[in-house]
């Protein structure tokens, strides 16, 4: 039920972006918003706090996105918060990215790293993943300090883990 709700929201937001002619921009910005939302507990708590009026939470989101996201993306995020679905904002953004990639015949690979990847690294990683999977890959980069170092990639149910965290866990298990 919740998955259907998230898909419906994602489809509606994509429709609005298509009407505004800003789908690609919105998808890219939504990917960044999803990464930030999923990474920050404080941000999730602030936007989903039911004790605050929706208008206040909308103002917080618009202040955060102002100047960094397009007008359409900011309006759509504000609309989700006004609808009382701020808690599902990350999942809706992820679904938008996923549906956009699927529409283009691509597969989204969630890449977690401790530090940001530069453009060259992203291009080389996407190429390597496409070669390994035989599919066109679009990266969704998530900055996750718990990775410590290296990269963790998830494509659907497949996980390619090359993180220092996992190596330390393996070391821990070896005792």
């Amino acid at each position: 039920m919740a998955d259907d709700l998230i898909t419906s929201y994602a489809r509606s937001l994509i429709g609005v972006a298509e009407a505004e002619g800003a789908v690609s921009v919105m998808e890219r910005e939504m990917a960044q918003i999803a990464a930030a939302f999923n990474a920050s507990e404080e941000l999730r708590a602030a936007l989903a706090d039911a004790t605050l009026p929706a208008s206040r939470r909308q103002q917080v989101a618009e202040d955060l996105l102002g100047g960094q996201a397009s007008r359409v993306t900011t309006a759509l995020v504000s609309m989700v918060i006004a609808s009382g679905r701020a808690g599902e904002l990350g999942a809706i953004a992820d679904r938008i990215v996923q549906m956009g990639a699927e529409q283009r015949g691509h597969v989204v690979a969630e890449v977690r790293t401790a530090v940001a990847l530069d453009a060259d690294q992203q291009q080389r990683l996407a190429s390597a993943l496409s070669k390994a999977t035989g599919k066109d890959i679009e990266l969704k980069v998530v900055i996750d300090p718990s990775v410590l170092g290296g990269v963790v990639t998830q494509i659907g149910d497949q996980i390619i883990d090359g993180s220092v965290r996992t190596r330390l866990h393996q070391l821990r298990e070896a005792f």
């Binding site: 390994a132 410590l148 170092g149």
Partner: protein
């Protein structure tokens, strides 16, 4: 009814006997006196002799005559009959009464007595037989009781012996069970000790691993600079590309 029938002949015989004896005796004394008076000379002569004999100054002959008359009457008529030989009339009446009594006794008395005696004998015999039977029964009962008592004693002894055997078996079983329980408790305690030791060792290993990994993590974090991160990412990209 029976005592009356038995007593009746005796009563009749007794009555005849006592009525007959005075009549015979009265006739004998009276007739003797009359006869002797007649022999003396009649009542007048007897009276004359008596008066002459009792008169004052009576002659020796008168007195002698009076004594002779008195002796004659006394010795011959008034003198008591023989103590051994009865008078004839007594013999007759007594014999008749005896015969009547004997006949009555033979007719009614003896059968009654015999029947009574037989009945009594039979009753006594029956009583004796009953007593004998009772005694035999009592003896049998006593024997049976003795046998039952002996059987009861034997059963009691058997039960006691069985109980003793069961107690011995139970004691042995309890001892075996106690030993088994002790062995099980020892084994369980040994297992628990071993388990506790294993857990302690595992906890120790986990703690050591946490310390080591934690130290390694801190070392890695301190040493993971930008270049190291880039190198790790490049190595990852290269490894993915080789797959």
């Amino acid at each position: 009814m029976r005592p009356a029938r038995i007593a009746a002949p005796f009563v009749c015989a007794g009555a005849l006997f006592f009525l007959a004896q005075p009549a015979g005796a009265a006739e004998s004394i009276g007739s003797c006196v009359v006869e002797k008076i007649e022999e003396i000379g009649g009542p007048e002569e007897l009276e004359t002799i008596v008066e002459a004999g009792h008169a004052e100054g009576a002659s020796a002959e008168a007195e002698e005559a009076l004594v002779e008359v008195e002796d004659k009457l006394e010795k011959e008529c008034i003198e008591a009959p023989s103590l051994i030989i009865p008078e004839l009339n007594e013999v007759i009446w007594g014999g008749g009464a005896f015969l009547v009594l004997l006949a009555a006794m033979i007719k009614w008395g003896f059968p009654l007595v015999r029947n009574t005696m037989e009945a009594r004998t039979e009753r006594i015999r029956t009583d004796l037989q009953a007593a004998q039977a009772a005694r035999v029964e009592a003896e049998n009962n006593q024997k049976q009781l003795a046998a039952e008592l002996a059987e009861s004693k034997a059963n009691a002894a058997k039960i006691v012996e069985q109980a003793r055997q069961e107690a011995l078996v139970l004691s042995a079983n309890m001892q075996v069970k106690a030993e088994a329980d002790i062995a099980e408790m020892r084994q369980r305690a040994a297992g628990e000790i071993e388990s506790a030791r294993s857990r302690a060792l595992a906890d120790l290993q986990a703690d050591v691993a946490d310390i080591v990994v934690g130290a390694a993590s801190r070392v890695v974090e301190r040493n993971l600079d930008v270049n190291s991160q880039r190198q790790l990412i490049d190595e990852y990209i290269a490894s993915v590309g080789r797959q």
